[in-house]
Subunit: 293 residues, 2 copies
């Protein structure tokens, strides 16, 4: 059985090294580089790049073929965290147990570090020495959509607008489908693009990715209530303090767990229709559902 934790241990260190090396070799002012590297080095689960590698593995291809696309999506994810933490946004002091970017480098540098990570992501894909021209264009097009107004940023706006008002469960799912779901979907899609997967496989993998994204968010919300601060690296109960609508606040913890289970089942059903070795993707899904940070 392919275990995702073992997979992460095998490929994670090379991924970290390559991502940091890519940013390090760009000629830029020293403080800007420090600020960009600070947030990239702050760790994190690297679930987005690892999803790309896992899809390639499922197609019996070399997982590290997903490296360039994986670096790109992690740079986008990291910029979004830096900007989300800003005083004018969530105004967070801690991220992954360390002071947030603007607390260390100041607000203007944090804005600019985030701004510079975006083009670095798209440039990483154009620079790839192994992707075909068609693959590069498909990846950039998908990433631009997933990261932009119709994706992650649109979800962030919808999330801010939903603060302090009562949303229903469908609206909540829609917000998260954009805010966190779209980049996770991109990752699965990127793996499929690089594996030259059939249209049918791409559709079923996208369905898997949508359920994975929702499950990921439900577990995030549950951990904000029942999680361990030391393991999470951030204070628990922040959603409650911010009066944010969450799965547990709308459904109770038991209701949220039932939804988590439902999306787990649906993700596995979608996977059954994909013509590849899905064991590792099932293992990813188990990790999402059972994670404690």
């Amino acid at each position: 059985m392919l275990d995702f934790k073992a997979f992460l241990q095998k490929y994670g260190p090379s991924f970290e090294q390559e991502m940091l090396a890519y940013i390090s070799q760009i000629e830029m002012p020293a403080h800007l580089k420090d600020a960009m590297l600070y947030s990239l080095e702050a760790g994190g689960k690297r679930i987005r790049p690892m999803l790309i590698l896992a899809v390639l593995k499922a197609y019996r291809l070399e997982p590290m073929l997903g490296l360039d696309a994986g670096i790109a999506v992690e740079l986008i994810h990291t910029y979004s965290l830096i900007h989300d933490d800003l005083p004018c946004m969530d105004n967070d002091d801690l991220r992954r147990g360390k002071p947030t970017n603007h607390r260390v480098f100041g607000e203007s540098m944090a804005v600019l570090a985030g701004d510079a990570l975006q083009p670095a992501a798209f440039g990483k894909i154009t620079d790839s020495e192994i992707y075909s021209a068609e693959q590069k264009i498909a990846l950039i097009s998908a990433l631009a959509r997933a990261a932009g107004a119709s994706g992650m940023v649109g979800g962030q706006v919808a999330d801010i607008e939903a603060e302090n008002i009562q949303v229903n469960i469908e609206q909540l799912k829609q917000i998260h489908a954009l805010k966190t779901g779209k980049l996770l979907e991109f990752s699965i899609q990127a793996g499929a693009i690089l594996a030259n997967a059939s249209t049918s496989d791409q559709q079923h993998l996208s369905e898997f990715a949508r359920h994975l994204g929702i499950a990921f968010q439900i577990q995030d919300d549950i951990l904000d209530i029942v999680g361990n601060e030391a393991e999470l690296g951030k204070p628990i109960g922040s959603d409650l303090n911010n009066q944010k609508s969450t799965y547990p606040s709308l459904l109770t913890i038991e209701g949220a767990l039932a939804q988590l289970n439902e999306h787990h089942q649906k993700a596995n059903s979608a996977l059954k229709k994909v013509n590849c070795n899905v064991t590792i993707l099932e293992s990813v899904m188990n990790m999402v559902v059972n994670r404690n940070n």
Copy 2:
């Protein structure tokens, strides 16, 4: 003689319309779209897209072939203005005679509107129905470099770090070569990519673009002292109030004018080596040197 003003009058309106239509058709939260369109509709000289069109015209190609790349560079330029105006950056209340984005939509929406304009720019190039795959990749690679840490954002960081300290004229040129120069250079380069210009032509056009960029900045600095507030759409004297190093502050107005003249000459010399009809590019340079807003 091809006159750049007539050129702008001919192609400007279609450009505006196409750029706004592109953003309007993206599905996103209404407030986000309002914020993005507000800054795009605020006007501006559209010099970057028009440079692309002008290079195509110089190669006797249809200028509107530059539309998609022109929209992309204008989206990047516009995002940079929104973020530059933020309270944590220049804290400006007015831009082109209108309240700045964050004054109208709030700080978090201004950050996100800027964030969403970046992927929209890269996505516009991948979506083009007329560029070849190789042209798309060359354009995205060049735009990512010009906009990112080694280009515009790096220049913005260097500019902030130079505030309140004495920089020399070479350092000042270096800051502006990045902050404003790189996107102008990209525009010339984009025109050359789309015209399939020879390597030699591309090199001489890049040299032209570098001098154009410096001349543009010198004239900007001069206008901040001798300009007309109503024509500029912003208060004059802001550089002086911010104790910013500028060409006139380092060289006097006369010295700055001498430098402006020198870069004008050098730009024209570079143009003489390019194998195309350079009249319209000379006219662009005249416009940069003689503009009053």
